[in-house]
Symmetry: D3
Subunit: 132 residues, 6 copies
């Protein structure tokens, strides 16, 4: 894994990008659901159902929507999550690149910094055992 | 076709929604390209290529991206254009509804007014000879 | 009611702004729900529940959130809907102005054109029997 | 001036686009300022000052910022206002096209429908006596 | 305080989240105001006034607007600031959760990653002496 | 260079902000272009051309557009890149501040956290040998 710098500090990794993302996401999702706010619980429930099998579109189509909408809305964590899912439902690297290309055209060059982080995360996913 | 009102005036249509949209779009696209601005020409050229056959994704996947990204970015005219294209590449009404449902979940209830206009336009497309 | 112009045509109103907005909204909401898409039904259901009595915040607080978030996200129809609701739950004109002022500061001068339409609609609401 | 259609109705113009825009803008700005909300008054005051002579940038630079930021944020009325001002401070058609080209690249193809309306309004400005 | 990872590096905290946020915010606000740019000074002044006592809405209503608008616009630092203020003006955890629930419904699932960071910060605020 | 904290950890810099930004940007841009996706290559090519000499606007005007559009769209990395370019084409600190002031007015107080990071980066640019 390449070196990373944050505010000028070289960071020596002891947890990979994918594991780190999944760890934080799971921990905080649990905390949100534990808050027992009914509205938030229902939104999370809807979110889970929306990307499940069933309905008029197959899983690959739903994940394609999830990935590209996240990219044009420039949400790095949403992009990371859907990249993980795209890998799980069988998208190839060329397909993911093409999808992100169309999204970048729609959303403009302002999307490019998010594209950089998406490429880095997709690369980390290939090397990771976590979501395999 | 249902009655429409604009600022309290009942409008008696002599051109359907689809024809009107296509007419304005073609006329202004021509005017933009006639301006001979090289950057704008290249962006339009890229846009045409991006949704053409070829590349790692099929046309249906590209139009699915175009439709849903347009909806979460809340661009009515972009949604209308891609609804027309979605119909041309063979998406069913149920598939379009499902895709717009996932996009509305991602983009939030703020998307709903655009969803109303999208449903209206999809309905007009079914009744129209223009893009058939 | 003041005269309105659309693309250079003076329009002679026979339906007021509020009635027109409510009419289109009800008609299209019905069409969306009639589509029998489960995801869209659930989102609409969640939306209805979110602004109902109950939960940790009172109705006025929820409508204040609805109005100001709609304004910073620059959704005219959402703003109109919540202005109608704000009037129903008892907000004064001064309170609505103040709320929209804070939202305009947060969202920037790009919000001002939406503020113009919001002022016009709030004015129409005062004169309307429809939502009274 | 070209024919316009709204929801399928051919509209016969008796007021041009520029006059109509200026009329509505002035009328509603007056109504907002008459509301005597201190915060809104101050925001409007700041807005007037920001595009006045003085400060580190000349008027043309400030209007270039106003135009392109309005376009990437996809606010048609803001774009129209700054197009009028760009004409007043002496920008050529080629310069305005180039500026809008860069903004469209940054903001993506989602900007294109707004670009169409911008081209139409710039054209109307050339033919108008109003802002001359 | 829970462990955090950044690009795979476990970070051992010697300053809590709240203190760190306040420290950076104060330091950079000072630098911006020291720049002696009149426009920026006025915007900051307006911002301070907008959330002060006085006007048609009480402080709690203004902070509710600040928090939820920041969340739908997906600005983590703005959310953090208003969470701190919400605690100071007396909002309960249940009220903050409900407000963020409504905002998430409006802004969509794209808001969820920001919600995670908001929950984490609200939690840190409860444990912090800094803003107490 | 001032101390930085990330999730409560004081970071001791061994690479400055500018060098770190340029390093990551170059590395990931190379990876994106190496992917051999034709659409992405063309977008990058268009981006390079858009800010090159030639066309109706001079380089300073194009960079002014790049900086302020990036700021209202709240893309930190885009802002950083254009700050570096603004310095190279000869903008003074007062001019950059004024431009960012106008952008903050347009985009609202939600822009302020990005303004903080922009001020910090502009400061780092002055002290850096990297982009000199």
């Amino acid at each position: 894994m390449a070196s990373h710098y944050f505010y000028g500090t070289k960071l020596i990794p002891d947890m990979d990008l994918v594991e780190q993302f999944n760890d934080y996401r799971s921990r905080m999702n649990k905390q949100i659901l534990d808050s027992d706010n009914l509205l938030l619980k229902r939104i999370f429930n809807l979110d889970t159902n929306a990307y499940s099998p069933g309905g008029a579109l197959d899983l690959k189509s739903k994940e394609l929507i999830g990935l590209t909408c996240s990219l044009v809305l420039r949400c790095d964590d949403c992009v990371k999550y859907h990249l993980g899912r795209c890998r799980e439902v069988g998208f190839s690297t060329a397909e993911v690149h093409e999808a992100m290309g169309v999204a970048t055209l729609i959303g403009g060059t302002i999307v490019i910094p998010h594209l950089r982080r998406a490429f880095e995360f997709w690369d980390a996913l290939q090397k990771s055992d976590v979501s395999a």
